[in-house]
Symmetry: C2
């Protein structure tokens, strides 16, 4: 079975997950689908207008320490983002265009690196444009396409699909109807896909 | 270094953690300390008067499914508790008496089994008394001792210590000042203790 990787660009634990999910799926011989979505509407419906890591300071303090350990173990750089959480809306609209294309995975990884290791503002079109160009893509055309009403609606629909299928946080992995939440459940999701 | 296992009897993920922590610590050759505390005051200070798994239904639904997978993999029975969360105050007061005694670990495991596998009400003194007796202990004496003001105050102080040391959920593991949150961080905590 396939594993679907559901992610949000503002999500901290989605960063180490995004950086390792492709290699892990390949090693497990499991097909991988990339599925960007937005946590904002989900958190908003729970009464949160900010990241729970900001709302609950003890949890936030722990998360950054836990992320530091995880990134170190994975050989990933981690630097304090220019703000937390960043607005990943435009990046998600672009990732949606690429989710079933060759470039979607590489674009996604570059955006996470920009956010969590390069201290770039991923809400800026110049940053996203630079990433697209570095991948040999037609940045102006993709930016225009990403801002078209049909694409905006498609991202809303994908976020709605996430809610309907039980997703409440990121990263999440879906294997059919079976939901796994968190970077630390990637291995369990791949095991499930192989059953 | 030692690893401290901080747990709350109402906490679902503390159940599989409590059932495996002793063997895991032994295998890693790490000394283990059992530290019962209360999540109620911590959650209350965050504005929650119920388990977050009840407050946020999608998270709760996922947690029970995740628990089922974890318990199955660990060979543990899991049955819907008589209520969730159960009131673990009296059990915690008893566990506190035993935390540095020979019987504390066994008592803790029996209480978790009563809660999550035997559908017993762990707030009832008869249930706790039965567990103590089955371990060959003087149940009436321990119950009396557990309800003495000094022991009640000691549990409050231990919960206060948890907060001061950054704990915000259960189970948590402390290796010196280094905090690990969640059943799935037990291995990382033991690795840290061996560094």
């Amino acid at each position: 079975m396939k594993v679907e990787f559901w992610y949000e660009f503002a999500s901290t634990y989605s960063y180490p997950a995004a950086m390792r999910v492709e290699a892990a799926a390949k090693a497990a011989d499991v097909e991988l689908l990339w599925r960007p979505f937005l946590l904002g509407p989900i958190f908003g419906s729970q009464g949160w207008n900010d990241s729970p890591f900001n709302i609950y300071p003890a949890k936030g303090k722990y998360m950054w320490r836990d992320m530091a350990r995880i990134c170190e173990a994975q050989g990933l750089a981690l630097k304090e983002p220019v703000r937390f959480p960043q607005n990943g809306l435009k990046a998600a609209r672009l990732a949606l265009l690429g989710q079933d294309e060759d470039w979607g995975a590489a674009f996604t990884r570059r955006v996470y690196l920009a956010n969590f290791s390069e201290q770039k503002d991923i809400s800026e079109e110049t940053v996203l444009s630079g990433i697209l160009s570095s991948l040999g893509l037609d940045a102006p055309a993709l930016l225009t396409q990403s801002n078209e009403p049909t694409n905006k609606e498609r991202l809303k629909a994908q976020t709605e699909e996430a809610i309907v299928r039980g997703i409440f946080g990121a990263p999440s992995f879906l294997v059919g109807d079976e939901l796994f939440w968190g970077n630390d459940r990637l291995e369990a999701a791949l095991e499930w896909a192989k059953r």
